[in-house]
Amino acid sequence: MTNPVESLSGQVAALAGGSATPSSLAEHALERAAELGDLNAFVALDPGTILAQAKAATARRKAGRALSAIDGIPIAVKDNYLTRDFPTTACSRALPGESDGVDATVVAKLRAAGAVIFGKTNMHEWAYGATNGTSSFGPTLNPHDKGRITGGSSGGSAAAVAAGIVGAALGSDTGGSVRIPSAACGIYGFKPGYGRASRHGVLALSWSLDAPGPLARELDDIERLLPYFLGPDSADPSTFGSVPMQPTGFRAEPLLLALTGKGLERSDEVEAALAAALRAGGMPVAEAELPAIDSYFAAWEAILHCEATAYHRERLATSAAGFSPVTLAHLKAGTQITADEYLRAQAIRTSFVEMLLKRMGKWDALVLPTLPVVAPLVGEDWQEFGGRKVTTQDSMTWFCWIGNLAGLPCVTIPVPNSGSGLPVGMMLMGRPGKDEDLLAIAKMLDSRINGKATS
């Protein structure tokens, strides 16, 4: 049995029209999750807790006291967000897996709006990897082809949405962890610009790169959820000066700048899908190469490992055996990066931002594929594309780290693939603070590429 209304926006309409209730949505979602248990999308899913939330929402709606349009909508939550009614483990044995009774800021806002917190989703351990193959609960499988990975680290959230269990889910993104599994699973994912959305209560991987973001079946779903992400939060200093979601005034034909060249290779299949999508988009697209990409990538990687190691310093000293072998190796590498190297990486980061924003000419959105390949097969350690042979892990973050190093808002939208038919994502990166404009641009392209109506 499939959920009768799979997108969040469709569920909102069904609740408003009376063809569904929060309880019926939750019951359908639980049945669907049980049917698709082999995807391993969820790591905590207590029907009693979920149905109690749904029952309360149903009562509110029946009494005409709905808290918001999303009152009663089930939303799944990545297992690195604190949730007061589910344990949080980051899918690592290094964390006890208890609930400390508090919600992350984004979860608290959604709960206050009546959303049904629909369990915790599988993820790559500590979000420290992009395959979802390393998790204390085992790997997550791709709903499009169970012989393939979801990508990660928000792989459980992507699988839950792509499989039609929930209409939307929460993820986090340090080097693409919202966008990567969204693209591999054929759905939409949005990473807010750094400092626009509160990270409070989302277990850190790298505090100057991390951003929480939504995954969903439609851009309209993303638009409905972004107000719960964007805006200042006194508990997260990086959001100082952030503003709540604003109406976009962006109506012009956007200037797109496609990034190409050394270090940005992609498979022929992905390139063909992206080129066809851009043709369908019908917008002028300039091209530019990124110079010194190895140095910029090294800066991202140095910052990532250094900050992750600092965050886990005490845990590393007392319970290192709880980490998986690969995660432990990442953390140990971080202990050997010097303060000088870390600061050099941050300085190179500033150069990178200046280069993108001041020396690349005018642009409204940068364009890349989200991934250089379609979802890899389970157990495939290497990927070959564009004359490159790289690890599957590196292939997943191949393009996405750019958005984190520069702190830009980013979105991935699925595009048709006439090759294998497997999902391919197009990534758009917007200018700092222009999250709303980026969403507007994505909706314009989505309507032309995928025939989606714009609202």
Partner: protein, 51 residues
């Protein structure tokens, strides 16, 4: 509990490869770097005095 984990050869190789990649990339950067690193910290956010 004390960290007494002994790293395997695979872990040690991963660490060496990661550090080499980072150091080569940072060393190869030839453009002029700004005098200060990226502003990732906003001290004004901690100021409880009205502005």
């Amino acid at each position: 509990m004390k960290d007494d984990v002994t790293l395997t050869q695979d872990q040690q190789s991963r660490i060496s490869r990661t550090l080499a990649r980072i150091r080569e990339g940072l060393a190869r950067f030839s453009a002029t770097e700004p005098p200060e690193p990226a502003p990732t910290f906003k001290p004004e956010a901690f100021d409880d005095q009205p502005r």
